[in-house]
Assembly symmetry: C2
Homo-oligomer: 411 residues x 2
């Protein structure tokens, strides 16, 4: 949690954090500022409040964060650029050097965060490192201090994710009503004008219903039918028709306006009826979901549940990435992932040896077993997101029925 930042900095021997980039859709900056319409720099010295450096035009947005602010204009970028003979990375590095000095950071270990252009980051921070050899710039990947802090969520964060869960499931209910309000003709849903409904039209409605509720959908929606539903991250072909008796994987992961907290949710539907083979896959996935849920135990390592899911699927004769690495059929991904300011964050559930993430109070994560058979034209995934309460209770953050078949009338 955010209150752990200084403790984590101490344990990782970090003297300061430097965050760059937009105040929107930038998890590190949103986490430390609360977000805002600005492009800024933030430096947090260990034991001190973060300081926000902003452009004068964005001073109102910066002030709204409640953080102490500094004017980036005072660092006279044009003069630095002239002195650096047009060497932009050098001038930007010199500006960082002055900003760091102004908050009392002239040596020690400084970790870097924030979404930015990869090449510019490499150039500017390499220049800064050369300029300040007494400083060690630390670039973290999977083991980031901020991901460690964000590993657990407090009541307020959980409430925001729960709210996004409510928005998400309301929209899923709207989509179910929308689909079943259309009759079928020749095996596909049709509109009032007799023309077939398309996945593209359904997706437009999804975005509309999310916008009505003040949510954003920056990563799109998976709404994939038939063979495409058998490829986990196929987002679905907008021209596809809504055919009866085919699996539809509907995976939706919107966020708060401005790039705040996400939700993540999946249901699999079949319109009108379900072929036996699909119904059987569905029951297996639902059974694995329920069994895994029953076994969750606070304190246990996450990969234990990935192995459990694999064992359960294998017992039913399905290949998994445990017994068939790189398989594209059967159970082909991990059981879940953490959820917060990113759709995918810690804890991880992958069963590789390096993964030591555990289910502890405060974690928010998805539970999403699935079975995929693209060559048979079908796939099934069921996903809910949960929060572990301080007392260890595991709360499903948004309830929604698990029903495979959506009833359809004939036109």
């Amino acid at each position: 949690m955010k209150t752990d930042l200084d403790t984590l900095m101490n344990s990782q021997n970090l003297d300061a954090l430097l965050v760059t980039g937009s105040g929107q859709h930038n998890p590190a900056m949103v986490y430390l500022t609360g977000g805002g319409h600005m492009t800024a720099e933030l430096i947090k010295k260990r034991g001190a409040d973060p300081v926000l450096f902003c452009n004068p035009m964005e001073r109102d947005e910066a002030a709204r964060t409640g953080l102490p602010t500094r004017n980036l204009g005072d660092y006279r970028m044009q003069e630095l650029l002239k002195a650096a003979e047009g060497n932009y990375p050098l001038a930007l590095a010199q500006r960082y050097q002055r900003m760091l000095a102004d908050v009392g950071v002239t040596q020690g270990r400084v970790a870097l965060y924030g979404r930015a252009e990869a090449g510019a980051s490499f150039a500017v921070f390499s220049a800064l490192q050369a300029l300040m050899p007494e400083l060690t710039l630390v670039g973290e990947t999977n083991d980031s201090l901020l991901l460690k802090a964000r590993f657990t969520k407090d009541e307020q964060e959980a409430a925001r994710i729960r709210h996004m869960g409510k928005v998400t499931t309301q929209v899923v209910a709207e989509v179910a009503d929308f689909l079943t309000s259309h009759p079928a003709r020749n095996g596909v849903l049709v509109k009032n004008d007799g023309q077939p409904l398309t996945i593209g039209e359904v997706k437009l409605k999804i975005d509309l219903w999310l916008a009505e509720r003040g949510a954003e959908n920056p990563e799109g929606t998976i709404f994939a039918i038939g063979r495409d539903s058998g490829v986990p991250h196929s987002s679905g072909n907008p021209d596809d028709l809504l055919r009866l008796g085919q699996s539809i994987v509907f995976d939706i992961y919107p966020c708060e306006k401005g790039g705040g907290y996400f939700y993540d949710f999946t249901r699999t539907w079949s319109l009108g009826y379900a072929p036996d083979e699909l119904a059987a896959l569905y029951e297996t996935v639902k059974d694995v979901y329920n069994q895994v849920r029953t076994h969750f135990s606070v304190g246990e390592q996450c990969p234990v549940y990935q192995r459990l899911a694999c064992d359960l699927f294998e017992a039913k004769g399905h290949p998994t990435i445990q017994n068939t690495p790189n398989t594209e059929q059967g159970y082909v991904h991990s059981l879940g992932h953490g959820l917060g300011l990113q759709v995918h964050e810690r804890p991880w559930f992958g069963s590789n040896a390096a993964n030591e993430d555990r289910i502890v109070p405060g974690v928010v994560f998805t539970v999403e077993p699935g079975l995929y058979y693209p060559e048979r034209g079908m796939g099934v995934r069921l996903e809910d997101s949960v929060w572990v309460h301080p007392d260890g209770e595991i709360e499903t953050l948004a309830d929604f029925p698990m029903e495979l078949v959506l009833p359809v009338r004939q036109a």
Copy 2:
């Protein structure tokens, strides 16, 4: 334009481009792939097609780009990680090394692009540089080759931006109708239930009407009234009421779904009536807009027009950043900026010595003079976006009337 890539690589002595990150809301990746629901790596060797490296789960999205693809799974990250004893940046660097070798890049200059975590980019590319001393990794900032290619837009890109202009001005018209459909009581717009309308409610409608048209609004909207309209990038307080006779700066910059091309557009309104001082500011800004437009000449340097705008404002007695650097009153920003896969890209209009950008066929840019007096509680900005045709004609990409006062009836 994209067809200039190899020529630009040649002139900048670059042997390959490496692009990392999401296929959505990531200008470099969207430019080279057309976008898609995937997280990928792309390498383009000079003279060859780009090659896309994707996760197997996202193979459908990758295939849809039409580019040759490779399976990231084949690079066996878990084995690399084990061999690197858990050193993630090193393992990722080794994976890049193999990917580069597989497309025939083992030496020369490789430029880096794509939105990613700044710290991870610094760590991974520093490790790659150490691993491959015969390679020079190039991180560009303001002078990026991709920004140079994106400096000019072809007919197809212009058509997409024009479409976004149509969507944007349709939504602006809806907002004007929405506001004027509300009567005023005690100097503020009120709803049917007699409660005052708020800026937050207007913004929710804006997002809804954009979503209806298949657009996204990832950077939010500036809808700022009174004193806030006098601070250029103040996005407006959601709790503020719609007061009559106050300047409203409405700056809207949505993009295509998935993070494609943007539009950028601003009008300033005053509800019911405009005080004389505001009306005078408005006329001055409109006059400067018109004069600048008359002077645009293909081949001329962009900063010439920033100086012209400053001269015109100064002649009317307003401070500008030309005669009063760092002023927060008067004309406080530059005349415009390029527009494309980012809201702000080349050409730049700032009048610093280093800026050599010119108005040439193919550029798309905004024209947005403004006057800001936060202490007097007002601000005015007028903005259109234009494309320069191959024959030099300067087309306003979306027409919309410039009227200060929106009529309001009493409740």
